[in-house]
Amino acid sequence: MTTDGRTVTRLAARELWRGIAAAVLGLAAMLEVVVSSYDAAFSNGMTGSLRSLVDNPALRALYGTAYDLHSAGGFGVWRGGAFVLVVAALWAALASVRVLRGEEEAGRWDLLLAQPLRARGVVVRHLVVLLAGCVAIGLAVTAVFVVNGEAADGALLFGAGVGLLAAGAVGLGACAAQLFGQRRRAAGVAGGLVGFAFVVRMLSDADESLGWLRWCTPFGWVEELRAFADNRLLPLVPLLVLPAGLLVAAVVLFDRRDLGAGLIADRQHVAARTRLLGGLGPFAWRERLGAAAGWSGGLAVYGFIIGAITATFTDFIRDNAEFRRLTQRYDIGNLSTPRDLIGFMAGVLGLLLVLQATTSLHRSWEDERDGRLEMLHALPMTRTAWFGWEISASAATVVCSGTAAALAMWLGAAVGGADLALVDTLGAVANTACLVVLFTGLAVALHGLAPRVALGVTAGLAVVGYFLAVLGPAANLPEAIVTLSPFQHLAHVPADPVDTLATSVMVVAGLALGAVGMGAFARRDLVN
């Protein structure tokens, strides 16, 4: 006799529904803002010059090839597509690893599979729930376009592309979960491959001669659908085959391995490396070294691209009175010199640095949640000292990746022929430090008061704040709401001087929140 397998489906749904809901709502909201910000005058008035802009290699690398800029649909696919696809794929891959490896690593599947259930059925039911999430994302994407009155066929095609890409990422995560015994490693490999696939797509768009590469990456397949332009169906074939193949492979691999182990065995014995074990500070840093390297690398790539497109972009704006009028209307300000442009673009880096700081501080909570603080805080130290070092180490990783981004941006600008000094790019990135202080303060406060929600609330507010500032004016949101976003008050350094008042307010607020959090953490019970 077997237990009713639907219980397993319900269990998987319980573990996943929050993440699915957040991904669906977040992606739909982001896409809605992009699509509704589309201004017909924007494309009709200057299609020719816009062409020259979107044909810039670095910009094409970032956003992909634009096939249709005459409709809000085509514009949305071009301007928002890359972001939507990357976020959907990363979410799908990481969620897949979380339920298929994380739960097992935590030992909960030992208990689950001791029940009269077919082990394979348990895996399949988890995959089905993940795929339902992909379908929901695809439908949400389609709905955004349809609600905005765009062509249904294009909307459906792009929605299918996003959903199928996410399904492929689920399959990728599921396979990684079979190959590697630790969630962290499986997630790293799966996330890394998603990133790699995106970089291949970037290369394929950066240079005509590399166009064939577009057929080598799922991100390229979605682009080749040319939704709202040619609406091609052929790319759906690989988009369907990939998830099917990966999902079958994951189930087959699952059947061939021991529970709790990966197919790729990891080394059991390691030589002791006792460096950076001498105190709280060094240890907090040691625990964050890998993440610091990853963020630094990622932000350096991003910074390089921003630097590299600067010259083309500013040339375009200088030559285009219509676009200048638009940027003024949307309160973006002058973007006609490289220093203006990187001052404007630094906001994205600010957001990424805030997210890095927040996830880095999240490790402190993971240590507590997983019980590692029980022994640590029985040692002679104060809570304040420990948490202070954790915050300092997180800040140090942010300084590393911020510096890497600024250096790379300067290098990219040199390659792209923009007139930028290293002090300009460093200043642009350093100017965002007040945001990092503000949001770190918020994360620390929440760590003291409600640690379970600290990451979600802080990261969520940062993302919402960023998009409010960047897209709010274009989407005609009321001034009173847009002005709530701290990102809105970031001066375009180095072109403009630092906004001393706004910076001071953010730093003081961040420090005050941090002090509250420190005090609360020192007084509260450790979670067991």
Binding site: H269, A272, E287, R372, E374, M375, H377, P380, R523, D525
Partner: protein, 300 residues
Amino acid sequence: MTDAPAVECDDLTKQFGSVTALDGLTLEVPRGQVFGFLGPNGAGKSTTLRLLLGLIRPTSGRARVLGVDVGERRQAHQRLAYVPGDVSLWPRLSGEECLTLLGNLHGGVDDAYRRELVGRFELDLDRRSRTYSKGNRQKVALIAAFATRAELLLLDEPTSGLDPLMEREFQRCVHEATARGQTVFLSSHILSEVEDLCTRVGILRRGALVEVSEIGELRSMHSVELEADFAGSPPDLSAVDGVVGTERTPEGVRLRLAGSPRAVLAALASTDVLAVRTREASLEEIFLAYYGEPDAPATP
């Protein structure tokens, strides 16, 4: 402060929401003792230890370790060591790296003794701690704790993952610690362990301390169990002075006695009793009486 007791709790209370995990614990453990802290799951043993470490804060009451308020974590923790009931280590660190980290952060670790303990507990230090079983993780925590030579050792069910050989090694370590004058506060629900190691025990039940006494004293307080066989149906003796529990047997009744048996013997004399047998209750039965049964003796 050198002569302050190892552990002092004064009306220590901890509530989690509406649940009272510890209810007015007042307790003093002198230095140099091995104190057994007994109770069933959920009785509040771990809560007490976590309060003593300042990991959680009391709802009311106060506690001191070695004369230092538990809120003064840095000062208090310099002279104690702790083994949690469920040991979590840093998964990517090897056993060696975990011990190095803990040793560096505590300071004043006896390196030679630590090396000796690693050998005695047969711990493979080169493996990453995520590959360790529960028992191996416990060994890391035990080695780290004993190697500090701390004045007070707070141990929360320290042998729950160890095999019998390792359990014996643990007992040797406790004996060595007491020989050096260290105090050991040992929470457990394993009776034999407590019987072998502890001079004094406290029994916790549903967050309240129901008994503190020397092991021998405890035995003599609840020593007698009396079985009486009757020709007909047995009389109701539950109300008789000194009787704390009754139970039917095929031939008659089994009575648990506290204090003098005089009243029971007098009552039995006027019945059609056929036979009477007495027996010393085992320590286990004493604890079971404290733990679970509704008619468990309060303070005899």
